[in-house]
Symmetry: C2
Subunit: 358 residues, 2 copies
Amino acid sequence: MNKKYFTVGPTELSEGIAYNYANAVENNIFSFSHRSKEFEEIYADTVKSLKSLLNIPDDFYVFFLSSATECMERVVQNLVEKESFHFINGYFAERFLKISKHLGKNTAFIKSEYGTDFNWNDVSISDSTEMICVTHNETSTGTVLDAKKIYELKNKYPEKIMAVDIVTSVPYYQFDFNFIDAAFFSVQKGFGLPPGLGVMVCRKSLINKAKGLSDKGIVIGTYNNFLNLAANADKNQTTITPNIPAIYLLGKSCEAILNKGVDTMRNETEKKANLLYNFFDKHPNIKPFVEEKDLRSLTTIVLKTELDTNKIHTKLEYNDFVVSSGYGDFKENHIRIGNFPMHKFEDVSNLIYLFKKF
Amino acid sequence: MNKKYFTVGPTELSEGIAYNYANAVENNIFSFSHRSKEFEEIYADTVKSLKSLLNIPDDFYVFFLSSATECMERVVQNLVEKESFHFINGYFAERFLKISKHLGKNTAFIKSEYGTDFNWNDVSISDSTEMICVTHNETSTGTVLDAKKIYELKNKYPEKIMAVDIVTSVPYYQFDFNFIDAAFFSVQKGFGLPPGLGVMVCRKSLINKAKGLSDKGIVIGTYNNFLNLAANADKNQTTITPNIPAIYLLGKSCEAILNKGVDTMRNETEKKANLLYNFFDKHPNIKPFVEEKDLRSLTTIVLKTELDTNKIHTKLEYNDFVVSSGYGDFKENHIRIGNFPMHKFEDVSNLIYLFKKF
């Protein structure tokens, strides 16, 4: 059985995962103490490759957590005393809001009709807002925000923390971290790794805010509070015994993309996305959900249809192709296709060929 | 390079890890959605094997978290409103206490001189204590408690939640879960897996307590609160995309031990532990730290010495053997040896041979 996973994550694995894993087992890497020099080297190598690939500046920490959802919890817990503001354009943005609420914070938000843009002129963020939470690429709807909108927001509210969910954005979408203070992703999306690792990048100066909250007696978490995370990151260590295989494989995945060339990876992603959108724009029964072309994600292609999506999944799987269902209320009427660096052009062509039958 | 890791975790990997991993990659297991039937089967299989191996009753949930330390945080957050009581016999028991404190709970404790037993007659637990926290096998000191002491405590305080750290206890030590309400471990110890998974077992009826706290407006965490964890576990699912490789490999590891036979595994562990303790009891310069024989852990053998432990580590590593340093204040004067199911009798003999030179 070797199916092609065009899912939005977990998804198709990048090449060489089993080889790199076996090689690491052979070299005892997964037996290393997380307090050893050997592990510190792995940590440092992965951070270096990741920072190089995503243009993350030196004055940012890279923290290894367990999932993007943990990143949402920790970033609110550590950097929001009272109030966060949320841009809601899909179910993952909603999750970010809910987490802040569950942590007892006040929340405010602006919501778009899913699949369409925000009314940017209506954005009004109160003085008491400490953190602005934005989902750059909404995996549930296939909507992507122009990063410039985020940068303009940061320019307008420079004193507020700009926290960006980049879960399915990277490594294709590149960011200017002058305008972003904290961002997070998980590795089972664009990096094509097995799940089990969330990566949080955070401007180093923000650790002071976490300290301030802690000094006021506010609970900022325990082992994974930002003070602990930063103190350990300074030593190329983690707070606890982490998912060492995932940290190691992430480094290898970054290196592979850097070796191939970031521009090549980006060009290929665009070529595959264009092929998909052009095809579905002309499809009689299955159409892109996001109509406005500038809002269409190139990594997460969401389609709407009146056809029976269960039958579509069954037929695709019969031909060894797997795509994702719709999310939330869209479960029955949407289909989501992941378009990440590991997805091959010829497989996209074959997938399109199958969709011609519907 | 193929060293023997007699460390206390991360440690030597169980046999077949790379093979099982490659097989899973080949079969697309790490591309499965964590909401798919296929993943639910993996979840159910692992839970079934684990419950069978550790004699965990049906009325217990098995939650997959990211580390044993996360388990400490979540169990306090969800099951303690105001006060926990801690048995402190080493640094991991201290960590459990600190986590409860950081979460704003009141804490009380009894402390033993490390390496010796508690004065059980001095134990006095207040009526306001909701949870009793015990570290069964202290990885930092090599002290193990007689499980009967834990059962007697539970008999004396039946209304209090008995939460037991069994991180380096399992799978060798077996427990009677009639007297334990919550317990947790991580997979990079006795199961010989790469790190990145914490396993929490919890009596199902306790979910009501978490609900009660939540209803009172107490923060019980967000995505990984016990209500979410239980609702998902009921479907053989996790709250978030989990470390699927680790859940899969844990199932394989449990199956392998069950196939070999639990009694065989236990007999081998005892034989290896006896060999080590008998040797070091007679060693001129390196002695077991725990003097009282009934208190000596059979899985975590801690030694004390006046010799230069750095030189010992260097000489052992030169011969391709790795052991753990002491923990905390014992860093320079202790050596810790893991004795888990994957450690081979002949390798223990070879390790002992090397120690004859010191």
